[in-house]
Symmetry: C2
Subunit: 344 residues, 2 copies
């Protein structure tokens, strides 16, 4: 079974298509036509998009919808792009916000530079998922990088990003990028041993059928594909919600990665996420950062600052800097005790 395909099917958010409020609601499309609004818009109020999920019962985060720009169904998931009232354009996959133009910088910059600034001279980088191109845009800032492989399962995400989010999809224009449309798990299994300096996992979910992406076999594939002293960064949800799951992930990583194992977190208002990861809610996103046996990696003290001038196509960094890199590893007391006991 393809883990991501199953994920897209099973992690759909509950829809309340019979909600009384939905009956009267309709959305204006880009062409000005009145059409039935997407099902996910109907569960709270007409004209608002509400993100609800069994993963965060009893809560909803809503953005006002000005116009639906795109609605499609790929082989893997429902894809929607809408113009929000205050967050710019918003990408939604299976009812879950993936990115907004207003705050995507925080997520993209942190998931990329936390690993790449922690090792000297990264040359070969693999991105699993990340089909919007934002992580590629950030990897491209590193002048030392010679090759950027990306394996994204859903071509529609790439196409939609290129059409509606040019400042994010600009990452695909870098000549060092090799894009493969396919399953990331299989791609990693076939990767040459010790071939990558860094792997960034931007498409996974620790609960449900895709949970294998947070379990030992997947981490073993990652570790195998990394050179000695290579690094991986993978999303790891919100400290506020699922400490029990984080605890398991940290334990698994501790078994597989014989270098260092760390948890970091940062703030992103609308919790941007990628392919079916409904976890980073509460304005907080977590990351697991691990290194393989080899040259020591001290993630908390970055050794490889970004030369922001190296990438002509990029605007300056908006969020990441060396201080916020180190600060991301300082955890609240309730989380620190649990994570440090598992990581050391």
């Amino acid at each position: 079974m393809d883990a991501k395909e199953a994920s897209a099917t099973d992690l759909k958010r509950p829809r309340e298509e019979d909600d009384a409020a939905a009956a009267a609601a309709s959305m204006e499309t880009e062409n000005g036509d009145q059409t039935k609004e997407p099902a996910c818009f109907s569960s709270v109020i007409p004209g608002w998009f509400s993100e609800m999920s069994p993963m965060w019962p009893g809560e909803a985060h809503s953005l006002k919808v000005e116009k639906v720009l795109f609605q499609g169904k790929s082989d893997y998931q429902d894809v929607i792009v809408f113009q929000s009232a205050t967050y710019g354009k918003v990408l939604v996959l299976d009812g879950v916000i993936q990115l907004t133009e207003r705050d995507e910088c925080a997520y993209q910059e942190m998931i990329t530079h936390l690993p790449l600034c922690s090792i000297p001279n990264p040359k070969k980088v693999l991105v699993i998922g990340g089909g919007d191109g934002g992580v590629l845009r950030e990897v491209a800032r590193h002048a030392s990088v010679e090759q950027i492989d990306m394996c994204e399962i859903d071509k529609m995400v790439v196409d939609v990003s290129k059409q509606f989010f040019p400042n994010v999809a600009i990452g695909f224009e870098d000549p060092r990028v090799n894009l493969v449309i396919g399953d990331g798990v299989a791609f990693l299994k076939n990767a040459a041993e010790g071939s990558y300096d860094a792997v960034i996992v931007d498409s996974s979910d620790p609960i449900g059928p895709a949970k294998e992406l947070f379990e030992k076999p997947f981490f073993q594939s990652v570790a195998r594909a990394l050179r000695p002293g290579g690094v991986v960064c993978t999303q790891a949800e919100s400290l506020w919600l699922h400490m029990d799951i984080i605890e398991d992930i940290v334990s698994n990583c501790r078994e597989i990665f014989k270098g260092s194992v760390n948890y970091a977190w940062t703030s992103v208002p609308t919790y941007p996420r990628h392919v079916s990861l409904p976890f980073n809610i509460h304005g907080v996103i977590g990351f697991m950062l691990c290194s393989t046996e080899g040259p020591d990696v001290d993630f908390k003290n970055p050794v490889n600052p970004i030369d922001d001038s190296s990438s002509k196509s990029n605007a300056p960094l908006k969020f990441y800097n060396a201080e916020i890199h180190s600060a991301a590893f300082c955890l609240p007391s309730f989380a620190k005790k649990v994570i440090e006991s598992k990581a050391n």
Copy 2:
């Protein structure tokens, strides 16, 4: 004009009492009676409380309501307590969430210990606002403190907290506490010069009629009431929303406080707030930390760790620790440039 009273009047959130969804909605009270639901419950969906405000247009954060426990109208504001599905009991003033049982620790611990752990041996502390008692609970952890004055304008907030949030209101039980029900601005004007080691401002809003609490005359009152090298901590909204306002606050503080002027931030999922402060949205809360001329205060490197065992009535700290204290001063690049240019 009483600033807080005006604030309570003018900063009400928009209500959509005519919303079609509201017509059918009713809430069960603690006694099991069916009553008309509070107006603020009707704007999104029946049975859900939605926080909406002109301060964050186009967004709503909703919590599922299980039961309304209290509904009242004080001289200053509407007061509601409800049992949420997943955040425990929630206190709402004028339609804005003030605290939830689940995450109040982060806010209360940070606004208190950021200033008190930055100076040696604090003895006399003033809290403006903070009528739920949570800040008092945290101040009481400091064994060196001999006197804790609090000036809260709304007695109903104190009473409701004692009735429904005993783990927060426990702060009032400390024998060092002197509670005054009254206007904080007037209280500060009458305070003896140089009488406090620390002032914590837990009831203000930099926009609208209460904006004077973030302007020079108020800060001058605070500075006058502090001893040389004394410290103030005041809430200062979200970096993600209102950098222009933060810029002004930092400029004002820089003029008044001749010691150090710093901005810190932290993460709180439901953005707990106190009396009429609709700012800390996006899971992020900011704080201004300033010191008066006198012994140097280096807020980023706390000199006064908490002896957690000193307060028998308190559970251990959940959020605050020395690392997260320092990390709170590391700002994203977009904010760092602006704030540092004004603060130095």
